[in-house]
């Protein structure tokens, strides 16, 4: 092989190498999930829905309220999303904002094969947002942008987009907080609580007050208000 031939072959090789890199990048991008999108919807709606309501940990509203409304839900769960979109806004506006009850969303990771990797990733991302008092913004915005369950949409870009849309300002801290061991303990405890309450699936609800407790499965706002009156 002379120098001229070598140059021609090398040029061809460089062209093929660039094509190979392009193919790898296209395949890599195509590996993203279907469903959740980083072009978020309802960012302002969620912000308005929660504006002015105190958040502490996983609890929305007055933590000293006599009645506690607790939801056991999975962020990947489509029925939980329906509840979040259809019933939760009324519950938050008419019950939580008025101080009648606090609303605790406990992430119960049940979707997908154990260890429920995608649901756990989503739950930890939301819990990390609680460290900057934006847990509820994270949960509500996640539901508003939820993809098809177990489709692979729970990706780093998606989780980060939700965090930014939810108003988490310190993304580096949020990234660190997501890996805290305490969330494993919390998720395990939530799993045990749900089992002890004989809950069979998400979303399930517990209403606790001075007059006792009630458990509910996929209730309407009327059901919830009725249960609150019973336990007040």
């Amino acid at each position: 092989m002379d120098r001229r031939q070598a140059r021609q072959i090398t040029s061809g090789v460089v062209f093929l190498a660039v094509c190979a890199i392009a193919v790898l990048i296209v395949v890599s991008q195509a590996g993203g999930g279907s469903g959740g999108d980083t072009d978020l919807e309802d960012v302002d709606l969620v912000r308005q829905q929660l504006r002015g309501i105190p958040q502490r940990g996983t609890v929305l509203g007055d933590p000293k309220a006599d009645v506690k409304f607790v939801e056991y839900g999975d962020l990947q769960c489509p029925i939980c999303k329906d509840f979040s979109v259809q019933e939760a806004p009324g519950l938050i506006a008419q019950v939580v904002r008025r101080g009648t009850a606090s609303y605790d969303f406990r992430p119960w990771t049940v979707i997908g094969p154990s260890p429920h990797t995608q649901s756990t990733l989503a739950a930890k991302a939301a819990l990390a947002a609680s460290q900057q008092d934006h847990y509820w913004n994270y949960v509500e915005l996640f539901y508003r942008n939820q993809g098809a369950e177990e489709s692979g949409y729970v990706t780093e870009p998606f989780l980060t987009a939700i965090a930014k849309g939810a108003g988490v300002t310190d993304i580096a801290r949020w990234n660190r907080d997501r890996h805290s061991k305490r969330w494993d303990e919390l998720l395990s405890r939530t799993d045990s609580e749900a089992a002890s309450l004989d809950f069979a699936g998400t979303p399930s609800f517990l209403v606790e007050g001075p007059a006792g407790r009630r458990t509910l499965t996929v209730p309407t706002l009327d059901d919830i208000e009725g249960a609150i009156r019973e336990v007040e």
Partner: protein
């Protein structure tokens, strides 16, 4: 300019180191966990959990192992085919490593030290293999082996 023997030795050592890094990531991931960042932090775990860590369902580290093994092969072999193949493989590896590094910095928002180590190795391999290809492709023609009957 280093001799081709030196360039091949350097390329071989770098590619072996790359096999070590890529194998570590693959083995840890196959065991159900994530690579540990030696300097602390959770960048490696974050990157490993990202969907970008897999290509068509296969961990990108597996592609890394294949690439590094081929680079070891090109370093061991002589001749123009090995020189050009080494350069081509290193070029593809470098391009894809650059893309992955971009994803870490601007999309995933996390840095995995093992991925950075692999990217640095692939960059060095591109330099070494480019030098080898530029300086020694066609060199047999210009400096043909001396025939014993000519002595």
């Amino acid at each position: 300019m280093p001799s081709e023997r030196v360039l091949r030795a350097i390329a071989g050592v770098l590619a072996l180191a790359g096999i070590g890094v890529a194998t570590y990531i693959t083995v840890v991931e196959a065991g159900g966990s994530a690579p540990q960042c030696l300097a602390g932090g959770h960048g490696c775990e974050t990157v490993a959990n990202s969907h970008y860590s897999h290509l068509a369902g296969v961990n990108v580290a597996v592609f890394g192992i294949v690439g590094y093994v081929l680079l070891v092969g090109s370093a061991l072999a002589g001749g123009d085919v090995a020189r050009i193949a080494g350069f081509a493989i290193a070029l593809v590896g470098f391009g894809f490593s650059a893309y992955l590094t971009y994803l870490e910095l601007f999309v995933i928002d996390a840095i995995c030290q093992w991925c950075v180590a692999s990217a640095v190795l692939m960059t060095l391999l591109l330099v070494v293999n480019a030098l080898r290809a530029l300086d020694y492709v066609g060199s047999e023609l210009m400096n043909p082996p001396v025939r014993t009957d000519e002595l």
